[in-house]
Symmetry: C2
């Protein structure tokens, strides 16, 4: 009986179990969760990030760089087209490519010297006999400098023209430099020689013209760039990273960015183009860059009185101001400098190459990662070091996508911009063409142009909202050349600040300039942007930038022997920037911190109060509304942070996380005011726009107050008041966007 | 045995059943659906809409109107403050109020006459003896016209000043009218009398000044407004809806909108204010509106030659141009008109009253419904007919929210704007202050200002994207005074068009002007807007607008006896606009149709091609890119529609519906270009901006081409080309935003 009972018991249990199984699995629950519920919680996978970091391959980066730098690839040349094809091949690769890749061409206005009639600088005597001719091209230490595609050094967008006059030395070509000269010298009809630095390239000529200067020569002062070293037998490249005597920095001499003929319009074939004569911010007089070997010959022969101490450089002579002209004991006595410039503008088709990995959960949210592709010559460091890194990141991610093992939550867009060297043209045209879509959907823009200036430390500039994600990423990556020290711990030794919130942390700088392709994104579109690279130990060199910058010596040989032997700094940048990219693309909740923005605004506010409050008050302008606005921003940020902390977002309605993500994504957009700076092309971000004032605070306010202090005019104080109201409204408007949707009152 | 077996069988079945039940209900499935899955599918409830329609109560609207029109409530007066308090009481009502209601004050620059020294218009003889004095106030048929708070008729923002001169008749005060006069008359030192219509109020003086005219009188021509009727014994109010002889239309004489002293900035206490002398678009010479009783006395005594036929009106005399001055046989012979204006500007605090119902599913998506609250006098029709309707809608919805029986999917915001009559000031300041938040989150703005002009038919103007939802709503509501005919079927008889897609449908107009508070939303912010009202049978009257407009006769008595006895038209508007509001707030997928936008763009394109293509070609400007852009927009719209049709959106990831809703919500935003019209204040929408040209097409292009055709100047053709590129880029940019996130190439 017991046996029977047990049997029945077991049978019953078995039947019950079958029933339970049928009930549980066999019958669909009315409210069973749709598949997408699980997908919605897609978040950063830390294992994947570790694997990504491990997989970044310095040797592949080196190979990328070698390929990218085979030939000079100045924008729109055959060499540039070869890199377009190379990028397309890589991004369209069947096994390790992206979901899609394509090219987008713009017809843009570039400026080139004339191959048949090179620009020429000479010293002539009163009979026009040539006493000295400035070198037309850089010295070839290797065959690559002899490549016929190496463009002659020139000042892009500098006008064609002929100028002749007595030489003066005008330091950096700042307005104050010409003013100084003008006190003792009649500058009318003179040629000025100036050193790079201190003022924008084009500004050196724009500042000169009102004083009657008829032409400008620009050189690289060895004191500024070479730590004083000048001898190519043992001191400069090819023996070190320093610039050889004949090296010349090329560059764009415009002050605005984007295609100069199509302001605010994408440069398509039939787009309206302004007359060339209306181009803003270009040199009005002929200008030509030269090497310091020639500069020394000219400067050391100058007559007149000695230049001020801080105008002196490394040449073994006293830098005189010029009589004007050369000293009477010089072989150039009574000589004049003659400048022949044959630059001309041309419409050329320049390509961006775009690649994309579609997001799985939020395909309409974009994280853009970009760098320009064009260089002045071979451009190993500028920009190919960044492109080599981008290609390694896209290779690893593309491979995972093709293998079906990973797809980001959000869409990742890679951009290889064209014609950056001429003024961020490719990225600016892209921003103009897609302004609506990009403004509506872009989470962030990551720029890695020159990825390695030097091997000492990471450097980053960013919107404060992105500071946090960069710091997080930097903690997970080891510093170049170390197996133990993190990028973060190494970085903090070189650049740091004391945050009221966090104490001592690495100092993420602000993006107030327009030095690379982040500018159209942060300044024109108000997209939270960042710029990441490896750079110097500033205590070891005074170099303004790596010395081969924009010269024929910026080659693979230079990069691999002097900038980053072993390519471990490249690798470190790829790991860090890639980590940032993955966090932005994969995080369930965006890794943005609005309270860090509040801290930055508070810092700017303190500087404004300290420097300007009394002056404003004396002119009956109250800074209180600005204080209130910053306070309201801080409160709104604190509240949003506490909503995030106190929510179980993964388990609440997905529209709540989306709402918060949108608030974070659009925060920088709230600072865009298209009318704030009518004279600063495409600068619309009222916090990070460029600034002339030395006070690190709100740029419109700072510049306007300084002008008003200088002139004392009522209308200038009105402008200061206007800028105070503009920034106040922008900050309090941004605070409104951070407020809970349920607490707008 | 059988029994036993059966027993065991039943027992086994029972155990199995228990098992199934346990398995199904007792064990939670790992993937059971969270509660919010159900909530996410929240959609329009057609039953609820029917109940809403049924509940709209004409008697309550009448009561609202009575309350709102008790006293004159010109902006910032005590009467206005009383309406502020009334709105707050209603929206904060414990039982039928909204979730929250509050006031927001702006310090704005308004213009008033001087109560102690009224503006004065006289005819004087050469010895300055007064021959005639124009009535200073309107005749009182009821005590309400005698209310001391009835503001004297005046031209707001017209300058204070004294002018004296011989009178001329200048028709509508258009440039062409003054040019006509100027051919035969020396206008220097004259006073012009002009009729309302044809040109903006302020333009009548702005156009006059360059000819030397020193003052302007503006009157309402009975031909234009009263169908020629003039006698208040039996023809005009209080016997009909027509304007009595002493009635004077007040109005704002600015051409820009928003607070005149704080362009692009919300007018807070400390906001920067431009100097009053810098206010743009206001009359440069004294100007005063008068009634037609006085106008007749002046015009019928004028000397000179007869005015052109189309300048003639309903007075029983020939309208002469003026000698200048009166005819020699007149009792005013040699008389001059004297004009004393004592208007002055004042900073006043004006309030918006805001009310909100938070959305349950998408609280960060706003549907805004608004109307202004301020009137010139009692303002029964303008604006209180709209406010009475808004209050009835908000009462019904508020009641449901308080009862816990309904909450919209999206947030509904009600706005009762201040100081609209002075230039849409309350809504414009709101748009300026909250520009970022509103741009990011607002689905639509519904404006119902004057809800009932007359009883014939619905009239609506809207962004084309909203045409569809208005038509849908109008089909569900019965026309005023009918139990059988729908608003739609009635409407189509009065205003219709043949759509290539739909055939004959009611004609929803475009929002190209700035006649009411929709302007800051559509033109400045690019928010899809609509303007809804009941209006005339145009075959029955020539009246420019309802005749008591902006006069002391726009009272509850007037509204209830002549405009809408029984308030059934008000009720119909409340039902229709409320239905639109509910559909926008509750629909799972926004009831927006981007293909309707394509149809509008195609219509504009045809007009541009027809009128301008040849001219453009003759000036080497190709219109092809515009054709391409419109085509790409059409394709993108078709594709998006097909994605919507082929998707099972309720069962797919909620982020897909959200993405599509965002595409629809942000479509109008893609047409915003802050730099397109530097001379048109706050007009940023490149499709719907104001237009001078008579060609119904893209406004920037049309106006630029017409100017270029007139001048033939290269620089004007350049501007035409520029506008062509601007609108092309905007349309193709908008098309990009409609493209699938997965198909951006």
């Amino acid at each position: 009986m017991l046996k029977k009972l047990l049997l029945f018991g077991f049978a019953g249990l078995a039947v019950l179990t079958v029933g339970i199984l049928i009930g549980h699995f066999g019958i669909q629950k009315g409210s069973s969760a749709p598949e997408w519920v699980q997908e919605l919680s897609h978040d950063v996978d830390e294992d994947f990030i570790q694997k990504f970091i491990a997989e970044v391959d310095n040797m592949r980066i080196e190979e990328n760089l070698k390929e990218l730098t085979k030939v000079p690839h100045m924008a729109t040349t055959a060499g540039d087209e070869a890199t377009v094809q190379f990028m397309l091949r890589r991004w369209q690769d069947k096994d390790s490519g992206l979901d899609a890749a394509w090219r987008e061409d713009y017809r843009v206005y570039l400026s080139f010297p004339n191959k048949d009639t090179p620009n020429k600088v000479t010293v002539v005597n009163p009979d026009d006999a040539v006493l000295h001719t400035v070198q037309e091209k850089e010295k070839a230490y290797y065959p690559e400098q002899d490549d016929p595609e190496v463009v002659q050094p020139y000042a892009a967008y500098g006008p064609a023209g002929h100028a002749k006059g007595r030489l003066v030395y005008a330091n950096q070509g700042k307005v104050s430099d010409y003013e100084h000269l003008n006190r003792t010298i009649d500058l009318r009809g003179t040629i000025a020689i100036v050193r790079y630095g201190g003022a924008g390239r084009g500004a050196k000529a724009i500042n000169a013209a009102p004083f009657g200067v008829v032409g400008v020569l620009v050189y690289t002062e060895p004191y500024d760039m070479n730590d004083g070293l000048m001898n190519d037998n043992n001191e400069t490249y090819p023996n070190s990273w320093y610039l050889p005597p004949s090296g010349v920095e090329r560059g764009s001499y415009t002050s605005d960015f984007g295609d100069p003929l199509t302001p605010y319009l994408a440069a398509k074939k039939d787009t309206y183009r302004i007359p060339e004569t209306d181009i803003n911010g270009v040199p009005p007089i002929p200008i030509q860059p030269i090497g310091f070997e020639d500069a020394q010959i000219l400067i050391c022969e100058l007559g007149g009185t000695a230049a001020p101490a801080d105008w002196q450089g490394s040449f073994p002579c006293i830098y005189n101001l010029g009589g004007p002209g050369f000293t009477s004991t010089s072989r150039f006595n009574n000589g004049e400098v003659k400048l022949h410039v044959y630059n001309s503008g041309e419409l050329r088709d320049s390509a961006n190459v775009m690649g994309v990995i579609w997001g799985s959960v939020e395909p309409d949210r974009y994280v853009i990662y970009g760098n320009h592709r064009d260089s002045w010559v071979h451009g190993a460091i500028d920009p190919s070091s960044g492109t080599a890194v981008m290609l390694e990141i896209s290779r690893i991610l593309g491979q995972r996508v093709k293998a079906g093992t990973w797809r980001p939550r959000r869409t990742i867009i890679f951009g290889s911009w064209g014609a950056e060297e001429f003024g961020l043209i490719g990225s600016a045209e892209y921003a103009e063409e897609y302004i609506s879509k990009l403004s509506q959907r872009t989470v962030a823009y990551i720029n890695v142009d020159i990825s390695v200036f030097a091997n000492a430390t990471l450097r980053a500039s960013a919107s404060p909202i992105a500071e946090n994600v960069i710091l997080t990423a930097s903690k997970q990556v080891k510093a170049a050349g170390s197996n133990t020290v993190s990028v973060y711990d190494n970085w903090i030794k070189y650049f740091n600040k004391t945050s009221p919130t966090y104490g001592l942390i690495p100092d993420v700088g602000y993006l107030t300039g327009a030095g690379s392709d982040y500018a159209p994104f942060i300044h024109y579109l108000g997209i939270s942007s960042m710029d990441i690279s490896y750079t110097y130990d500033r205590s070891k060199t005074r170099a303004r930038i790596y010395p081969a910058y924009h010269t024929a010596y910026d080659t693979f040989d230079y990069a691999s022997r002097f900038i980053d032997p072993g390519f471990t700094s490249h690798q470190t940048v790829a790991r860090t920037a890639g980590n940032v990219l993955l966090r932005l693309a994969d995080s369930f909740l965006l890794p943005f911190n609005c309270s860090d923005y509040a801290e930055s605004l508070e810092g700017y506010l303190s500087a404004a109060v300290k420097n300007f409050e009394e002056h404003l008050k004396a002119n009956s302008i109250s800074i209180e509304p600005l204080k209130e606005a910053v306070k309201s921003f801080r409160n709104a940020a604190t509240n949003l942070d506490s909503v995030i902390r106190s929510s179980d977002l993964v388990n609440e309605t997905p529209l709540k996380a989306r709402r918060i993500n949108d608030q974070l994504m659009l925060l920088d957009r709230a600072f865009v005011d298209p009318l704030a700076f009518p004279n600063k092309y495409a600068f619309r971000h009222v916090i990070w726009a460029s600034r002339s004032s030395g006070v690190a605070t709100f740029p419109g306010l700072a510049d306007a107050v300084e002008k008003a202090l200088a002139t004392g005019l009522k209308e200038d104080w009105n402008q200061a008041h206007r800028h105070l109201s503009i920034v106040t409204q922008a900050i309090s408007g941004a605070a409104h966007t951070l407020a809970e949707a349920h607490a707008t009152q």
